[in-house]
Symmetry: C2
Subunit: 307 residues, 2 copies
């Protein structure tokens, strides 16, 4: 292979995803990791837990030697961070990111990318509801997808090197264009998150009426929603503002369908409901067959073995 070796990786922003990249790369064994975070406290924590080979106090130091620089900050901060980092990139380096939205990140970052540097946006489809430098772990990307969105003029060998890096972290890699990525994510991730946030907010209103009953009796469905709705507020604010069009489109479809089901309930149309629920059950089977989840009964119980 004529891959440029990814000898040193710089992680800019040391939250859940960056710390999981660091531990996963350490597990894979070949890569030197440098890191930077704008927060002195986060840098201190990262040093304390031994997160990177070197935690630097400036972005310039962190990226100076790096073959691959990954921006691991909220989508809304990508432009600012790219501006701070780009002047110090090594010629021939690859610049990438892990943002949940790709169109707006490309728009924000591209103006700062120097000649001789390939900017290849990426998005690992993995996460937990926790955040911060201590939330990461080596297995986060195992058998998860990482979507790579090569921009115009990217050298194929750079894309291949980034792909190899993500595969070394345990991920499966696919490529797609930014617009398509943002639509797919709007339906599989962004809109479901917004809905979960909304439902948890509604329950909170009711909780004020009925004391803590809603929390006390939160059944499986609602517990799953609260888990989703516990994700990082800044990250998700930026996602919705950055993927506005696709999210609003999917939300429009969602409310349309919801109103149809609501009408079926009001009219007592059991056939419509049963047919709809039977169809969604089949979709679940498709997901299990695609290997994206297991068939073990879980339903908000944390997956503990229970037989």
């Amino acid at each position: 292979m004529s891959l440029r070796p990814v000898g040193t990786v710089a992680l800019i922003g040391l939250g859940l995803i960056a710390s999981s990249i660091a531990w996963s790369a350490k597990r894979a064994g070949q890569t030197r990791i440098t890191g930077y975070d704008i927060s002195p406290e986060v840098r201190e924590t990262a040093r304390r837990i031994g997160l990177c080979d070197q935690v630097c106090d400036t972005p310039a130091d962190a990226v100076a030697e790096a073959d691959l620089v990954i921006l691991c900050v909220p989508v809304g901060a990508m432009g600012r961070v790219a501006e701070a980092v780009c002047p110090y990139l090594k010629p021939g380096a690859i610049l990438s990111d892990v943002g949940s939205v790709k169109g707006s990140v490309i728009e924000a970052v591209t103006p700062f990318v120097p000649a001789g540097v390939d900017f290849i946006p990426a998005h690992p489809l993995a996460g937990t509801e926790h955040s911060g430098p201590e939330a990461g772990f080596a297995g986060l990307f195992d058998n998860r997808w990482c979507l790579i969105v090569p921009t115009q003029g990217t050298r194929p060998e750079s894309t291949a090197a980034l792909r190899a890096f993500w595969e070394s972290l345990g991920a499966n890699v696919d490529e797609m264009d930014a617009q398509h990525h943002d639509l797919v994510l709007a339906v599989t991730s962004h809109t479901p998150h917004l809905i979960a946030y909304t439902m948890v907010g509604v329950a909170d209103d009711l909780r004020r009426v009925t004391d803590s009953e809603v929390i006390k009796y939160s059944a499986a469905g609602f517990r799953d929603f609260t888990r989703i709705a516990a994700s990082d507020p800044t990250m998700w604010r930026d996602v919705f503002l950055s993927n506005k069009e696709a999210t609003l489109e999917i939300l429009g479809r969602f409310t349309e369908e919801l109103f149809a089901l609501q009408r079926a309930i009001r009219q007592g149309d059991g056939e419509h409901l049963h047919a709809y629920f039977t169809r969604t059950r089949a979709i679940r089977r498709g997901i299990i067959e695609a290997g994206q989840d297991t068939d073990a009964p879980d339903f908000g119980r944390g997956g503990a073995a229970r037989k």
Copy 2:
């Protein structure tokens, strides 16, 4: 204690909940379990896996000796099943159920309850997305709530006996009235389920456009939804038709809140979004503190240990 001992329990309908009651009672050790299901195949399966001490071919045989009879059928079938079972109840027996809606079940069952029998509706807040006699397991009710809804004229000692039975299965027990139960469940369970069904249906429409990408790249949020939306279609159809008023009320609040968030996205109101998401994150902490879930990162990954 002056509790009437619950020596024999009859389970009518042998699905996920009944089979979990049977295994949990066997684990507790004191109770004899008889069972009946309208489906000969289900009875055959129940016999094959040794689910009850005796699987009977008629409801009359199943309930003849029973101190406690639990109707474990979809909410919409409770009336029919009560009609079939009630003539054979032992004097002094307790009749109960496990339906997710209480108002409509009380309305449907009460006309058939003979004098000398206490009808005490109940609802264990536990389940998985699987169904059928082979889906049950002994730990399903451990540390989960079972809500008991005593009807007018119920003897206190009968309520105490039913409470003791559920506690012997591992559950915590609370009492409330039917109307309040149906409202609390509308917000914690019924509406979240409807929303999950809807979102999965929307994704399915999009899947037809983009092949299997939606399934392939289903991120954590969406996987949780599909798990919820895989639940038994008949059970859920009946829930929505039987808890119509409360579900429609909560759905109304939900769409109101969703439209407010949608408007914030359209207008780029990041402050509104961030404040909302911060609030829902705090609710999640309340649930963890109430002991209804763990803090382990899960997010649709089945809770496998990953550090």
